[in-house]
């Protein structure tokens, strides 16, 4: 009933707006330009087509592809948004951009009716990432969290904690690496934030207030432990997520902390004839994100994308409707099906088909329910830069002055002066 009312009201709003004039495209159908990184299975384009078809002529979505990594996407988008580019209607925002984009006035908050509709049935973590100052700025289209992947033939039962895992890996006679992305990029901030949250703390307690208590100290210690141990990959400081996957797939590692994209990737390699990949796949196991404290469940990272509506597009009402559709259950099933992207709507996880294709999705849902988003602050890119330029190479975390450096850099990042 609510769905029908909401749809009807949307259609009425759209018709009213169209009647008031101002549509630059022919007739009432507005062209909504969506800009986002493309997924290899083409799921975004498919969802866009379906939403256009079911909009009853209110809008047609044109999907435009951006570069593939979030940093490059952000670079491209922010310059255009700051230039008030009207050829952007909807942006596929990485979950950490919400505060920055909202504060700069580049995206508009969702109208209450649409926001309520979007939030219905969604998991806590993703919704939090799309919220800033109490308002919803993005429709969470897909989410993501990391798991611990391990080789059942090398370790029968992985330890629960980081320290335990490091010990286990170091003790293995060979192929005992612990893969994690340590490059000087967002991946390091992701890791650090998850560690801090798992230790019971937060990096920032407000948009401009940092914490440096025991949880932060513990997080730095764990990173240093791994960097100094025998289990660390020699290329740790250069590795991003895909290099971890390649190393794990070639049989060099016992453990890997990574996003679930690794599963279809290893599967494809195995089916393509890679014998080592097949062996890895046959012995692949998964566990929740490692804990920092043995008796406290971990709070894993939350990734994913939210669909935000640009302030400079010409068809905002239609854009909100389109964004809501792109985050609807039907769209999310397409993302899951074609690209293995984790849904943000809880009910989808109960679907038997989901659990059949991706056996570890129960862990994913749990991870999203309990996970910790990264700090919500407009200065996020500066804070992240401060974190990963201090903690990468990861061996920096083992140095005695690591904490002081971190403190200094995060403080500079948060000051109005900005950071170099």
């Amino acid at each position: 009933m609510r769905l029908v009312t909401a749809s009807l009201s949307t259609v009425i709003v759209v018709l009213a707006l169209a009647a008031c004039g101002g549509s630059s495209s022919s007739g009432k159908t507005a062209t909504i330009n969506v800009w986002a990184g493309t997924q290899p299975g083409g799921s975004f384009q498919d969802a866009a087509k379906q939403c256009s078809a079911s909009s009853n002529g209110a809008y047609t979505i044109k999907f435009n592809a951006l570069a593939n990594n979030p940093d490059a996407q952000r670079q491209s988008l922010v310059r255009r948004l700051a230039a008030k580019d009207s050829s952007i209607d909807i942006v596929g925002m990485d979950v950490v951009w919400t505060a920055e984009f909202a504060e700069a006035g580049w995206i508009k908050p969702f109208p209450t009716a649409v926001a309520d509709r979007v939030r219905t049935g969604m998991l806590q973590g993703p919704v939090q990432t799309a919220t800033y100052k109490g308002r919803l700025y993005g429709a969470p289209g897909n989410s993501n969290t990391q798991l611990l992947w391990y080789r059942k033939d090398l370790v029968s039962r992985p330890a629960d904690t980081w320290d335990g895992l490091i010990k286990q890996a170091s003790a293995l006679p060979k192929a005992g690496r612990f893969e994690i992305a340590g490059a000087a990029a967002e991946n390091t901030t992701v890791w650090f934030n998850a560690l801090v949250a798992s230790a019971g703390g937060k990096i920032l307690s407000g948009p401009r207030t940092p914490n440096f208590g025991p949880p932060v100290q513990e997080a730095v210690r764990v990173m240093g432990e791994l960097a100094d141990s025998k289990a660390a990959d020699p290329s740790l400081a250069q590795q991003k997520e895909d290099q971890n996957r390649l190393a794990f797939q070639s049989g060099q590692a016992a453990f890997m902390v990574n996003w679930p994209f690794v599963y279809p990737s290893i599967k494809t390699a195995a089916e393509g004839g890679d014998k080592t990949a097949k062996q890895v796949l046959d012995n692949l196991g998964w566990m929740p994100y490692p804990r920092v404290n043995a008796n406290e469940p971990a709070k894993g990272p939350i990734g994913g994308f939210n669909w935000g509506v640009s302030s400079y597009g010409k068809h905002k009402a239609q854009a909100f409707a389109a964004a809501a559709c792109l985050a609807s259950a039907r769209s999310q099933k397409i993302y899951l099906d074609k690209d293995g992207l984790a849904p943000t709507i809880s009910a989808i996880y109960d679907d038997k088909k989901t659990q059949g294709i991706y056996p570890f999705y129960g862990l994913i849902r749990k991870g999203l329910e309990t996970g910790a988003p990264r700090p919500s602050t407009p200065a996020y890119s500066d804070v992240s830069l401060a974190i990963y330029s201090t903690l990468s190479p990861t061996s920096n975390a083992a140095k005695p002055n690591a904490l002081d450096e971190l403190r200094k850099n995060i403080k500079t990042a948060l000051s109005p002066k900005g950071v170099l």
Partner: protein, 277 residues
């Protein structure tokens, strides 16, 4: 031919071979990478273990590369035309006419040649975004022609200085009007200068990265260097090594052709006519 000392011959052969190998090796490596099958692209072997043209097919499938090629060609061509015309006027004046301020112009163009583009990029971005030139062809053409002008003026004036102007007067003595004398006698002599300048300016615009990276974002105006630097891989987490190599090879082909056919002119232009081949 004099008798050539075999040791000298061997020496020069070694030198030449070394130069050719060093100059070409990176290009050959790119070709090798571009032909590697995506599953073996990271294997570190000099020659591909498995050959495929997939990378080439791939980059032409996505519009990002073909759009970038179109942008590069169009922007470089237009910037070249404008720069050559402006430089021709200025160089003619500098080579042939006496007027105060000649030295100033030369010094100014020298100064521009030494100018750090990065210092201009920020304000240009802010200016362009306010007047709507961000991510447009004019947005790039304007800085390109500006920063190409010093080189163009330098090359053109050295060509103009070589022209025997007395021929123009001789033609007029023979009954030609000044216009006819200019068209039929001077222009043909100046044509090689125009041509060489155009080649050098085109190479400059084709090559630029700083402006392209800073002042464009989408296929509306992004040129090839900027596009290659932001190539999407197959997914968020994979590196597009093969595509980059293929695109790099494609974009090097025009340069190789230009250099192959016009080596003499280019060397003459860059050495201010000191070396005519």
């Amino acid at each position: 031919m004099r008798d050539i000392n075999p040791r000298r011959l061997a020496g020069w052969t070694t030198a030449n071979t070394l130069i050719v190998v060093v100059a070409l090796f990176p290009v050959l490596w790119l070709i090798s990478l571009s032909l590697k099958d995506p599953t073996t692209v990271a294997d570190g072997r000099l020659l591909p273990a498995k050959w495929t043209f997939d990378n080439y097919n791939g980059i032409f499938d996505q519009s990002i590369f073909t759009d970038a090629l179109r942008n590069s060609l169009g922007i470089a061509a237009i910037a070249t035309v404008i720069a050559v015309v402006l430089a021709a006027f200025a160089a003619y004046a500098i080579a042939r006419l006496e007027f105060p301020g000649k030295r100033v112009v030369l010094l100014a163009s020298l100064a521009i040649a030494m100018f750090p583009p990065i210092s201009v990029v920020g304000p240009l971005y802010d200016l362009w975004r306010n007047i709507g030139l961000y991510d447009t062809w004019p947005g790039l053409i304007i800085p390109y022609m500006t920063f190409a002008l010093p080189l163009a003026i330098f090359v053109m004036s050295s060509f103009f200085r070589e022209i025997p102007w007395e021929l123009e007067q001789a033609a007029q003595v023979d009954g030609a009007t000044p216009m006819q004398a200019f068209q039929k006698v001077i222009l043909p002599l100046a044509a090689p200068g125009f041509f060489t300048t155009a080649i050098l300016v085109f190479i400059f615009a084709w090559n630029d990265f700083v402006f392209a990276q800073s002042l464009t974002s989408t296929s509306a105006a992004q040129t090839v260097p900027a596009a290659i630097a932001s190539f999407p891989g197959a997914s968020q987490f994979t590196a597009p090594t093969g595509s980059i190599a293929a695109a790099a090879v494609i974009v090097t082909i025009p340069i190789v052709i230009l250099v192959l056919f016009f080596q003499r002119r280019i060397v003459a232009g860059l050495t201010a006519g000191a070396v005519k081949g």
